[in-house]
Assembly symmetry: C2
Homo-oligomer: 556 residues x 2
Amino acid sequence: MASDIEIARAGKMKPIQEIGDRLNIPEEALLPYGRTKAKISADFIDGLNGKKNGKLILVTAINPTPAGEGKTTTTVGLGDGLNRIGKNAMICLREPSLGPCFGMKGGAAGGGYAQVVPMEDINLHFTGDFHAITSAHNLLAALIENHIYWGNELGIDQRRVVWRRVLDMNDRALREIVCSLGGVANGFPREGGFDITVASEIMAILCLATDLEDLQKRLGDIIVAYRRDRTAITARELEADGAMTVLLKEAIQPNLVQTLENNPAFIHGGPFANIAHGCNSVMATQTALKLADYVVTEAGFGADLGAEKFFDIKCRKAGLSPDAVVIVATVRALKMNGGVAKEDLGAENIEAVQKGCANLGRHIENIKQFGVPAVVAINHFTADTDAEVQEIKNFCADLGVDAVLASHWAKGSEGTAELAEKVAALAESGAAQFAPLYEDDMPLFEKIETIAKRIYRADEVLADKSIRDQLRRWEADGFGNLPVCMAKTQYSFSTDPNLRGAPTGHGVPIREVRLSAGAGFIVAICGEIMTMPGLPRVPSANHIKLNDEGLIEGLF
Amino acid sequence: MASDIEIARAGKMKPIQEIGDRLNIPEEALLPYGRTKAKISADFIDGLNGKKNGKLILVTAINPTPAGEGKTTTTVGLGDGLNRIGKNAMICLREPSLGPCFGMKGGAAGGGYAQVVPMEDINLHFTGDFHAITSAHNLLAALIENHIYWGNELGIDQRRVVWRRVLDMNDRALREIVCSLGGVANGFPREGGFDITVASEIMAILCLATDLEDLQKRLGDIIVAYRRDRTAITARELEADGAMTVLLKEAIQPNLVQTLENNPAFIHGGPFANIAHGCNSVMATQTALKLADYVVTEAGFGADLGAEKFFDIKCRKAGLSPDAVVIVATVRALKMNGGVAKEDLGAENIEAVQKGCANLGRHIENIKQFGVPAVVAINHFTADTDAEVQEIKNFCADLGVDAVLASHWAKGSEGTAELAEKVAALAESGAAQFAPLYEDDMPLFEKIETIAKRIYRADEVLADKSIRDQLRRWEADGFGNLPVCMAKTQYSFSTDPNLRGAPTGHGVPIREVRLSAGAGFIVAICGEIMTMPGLPRVPSANHIKLNDEGLIEGLF
């Protein structure tokens, strides 16, 4: 079979206006970036208010393993499948981060015959959204330093500046720095550091904002530092919110591209799935729901993190009501969840599949808690045997859930027609009665406990008095109604990445809590969280180049 | 009179394809960024080879003062004036830097009725070129750190890493940092720092590259560090040049926009005018020469720096042959050069104008040394008296040079019709016999002396033995044929910014020399050079915002 990039290039893209036409987006509302990318104008989006919403379908997955589950690929394949069976469907994906493209893994635009295109552009600068976020973030950082430099009227405690800087690059050397060295003209030396742009609170804000006004309000709410008396200083007090909004006024507009089968796709925003909520932008999803009858979207990591945050943060805040969930599983990843080593995945092992299904079963149960009906998509790999696939189907049937084999990677929409039929029927069935897991007014620590016990199936949450005190202080300061954003390993229901399957009886230790006042959530951190990746020994940057025909090589 | 931004908004922009049509750029060669910006495809540019060149006109100026000379405004006004008198003309400008927009001054897209539009876009993210340069620059930085981290096979001396990082933001706190703190996983602590993106060698490279292949060669030639034995390590040895080229493949394509009078303008690249050569890209200028009969372009700072580098670096390297030079002067700036304080500029002062003309006269003489005929444009301010203007005209007449009053700021092309006639006649006269100031094979120190003595009219160049030794080492290493890029104050012919007029008898001290092996020049630094600006006490960022109609306020 051809490589992803060969398949992508062999496909024939349509001019983006043709894609827009299918969604009834008029030419003046489509702002082109080249011939095959466009932004949707904010004015046009405003005008959609009051239109009926389509059905919202979330694609999530079992706990990831190095064997892969193919969540993005399945999202693309299902979108194409729905269009194939005559539905008016579109997909909403996150934008890939530029930095990691030069490190270990390639892009994040799907694979095989289930891709979004132009894949090189999407994986590189795309429409500049991440660059705009980087600029807005670092402008705020510069304004903090500048305020201190010119007299520090607001009384910023230089030891308590919590706003770091960002770059869309994997650069471990910038994780911890001392800045403002070199004398009087360069400010007051202090510790600082850089995160990767996707970890910026501004990324989370852009993805949760409902319009420009809401964006500016959230940017103003960002807490940048504290005074000696621990009172917070916001971006608004630094008069930074206006200029930051100006820098983001194009970035907030969703990006329209197409799948290999020329179906419409929004790719917009890409917040971290640990310290943020890991979903594409609310504006993209809401706009898609006005333009299409079916909207397929995904959330980062496995369902314990991704779906929970999608429901409890994104849907809660944006008033979205999902109609169906697709849980992606693969025979290979279930085998790994069942204890098989990566090098042994090629051999049939029904017992391991059966064992690994405990992980899938747990996710199915969890989704039900949110009142949304689910279907399982078995993302097909060529080495899978019929008996292994049947094992998954049987397991799901016992739980009263359909499991459908999907072979979009090899066949495109032909491989997801059956899945699309099931999903459409489920979404139309009216079975969904969505409700978030907890109420807004539940105390913050109880929210953490609720997630830990009901989703992770832990016995207890372990947290020092200082953390509980901090949560109570935030409640007193008026932040008690915020949802909680869990930052936990994606590899296990527990906080131990090696504990596969469906563990019980564990404790969830909370190491640290952070307030993202602009994004509007409390982050509860249960372990080491890396917000600035490094590059591997042989980074893919070493092999990325233009070939003699001017085409990009080595990116994927 | 209305403000710049009010005038810009009142103007009616044409769809960029209409502007392209006038230049016979086919639709498929015009890559749109929104409706009023586009990039010109590299393929189309390749196809222009062999076409006859138009006439090349450089706009330069006397030594700048806070009173302003209006070089960019005059470039725009002259372009419009040439079109007004029936010529097929276009202009080539530099892209403004994002960072400074949030500091002291506004944008850099002209002013009054001589502007390029859309001015907000041009001053903010535009088509993302600077973001691409920032990414490519910081990727190289990350690859250097990563190479050291994983074993340092190339033997980089960590004390001799000369590649800093860049951000397009004024942030003094990043001028000098210590990075890689925090333990083993974050690398080896060492000193580093950030420059503003326009100071990146990659910016200079992008502006001097003739095509993608040349770009990659130059990127590979960048010296990033030295070994303990002082041998150089290049970006090519780090296998970084391919990925950097991929990041810059769109950025290298010139950007087409329009003037307020709907005439075509390329705005592309913007290297520093001190540590780099301060001209827009060679690709934009060369392409413009194929598409138009007259191309008006500008160079940074006064003619002692800007025109000299335009001739000796850009024209030499790109094989360009300029046909005429316009030297911009204002009554106000000549008065300041004649010793008048800024607060007294309102009053008529013919004696001061006469005295200040010494500065203008020196620049006129200097331009003649390059074999290019010149005309003086007196950029009109409302407070100028007829007698003051006449004084300049008389002074120029004595030197055999025309001086023409230009009032494009208030009147657009109507105010430059006379200037345009003079310039067109001069360019067509065949009087130009361009030659750079020195030959390629002149020893490096002699090149510096030649510029200092013949352009700055210094008596001598002062340089320590270590600097002369360094220059000789570079000659031995094969860099002796490079031109010299002078980094000197823009406010005086001398290295003392307070020495206005036409000083003689001074010495030019060379503090430091740097090799920009990728850009292809030796930088000779004669004083403090700031490569990362700071923000003022009240930065303009505090007042930049979207107003109730969604329009940007406070940017200009």
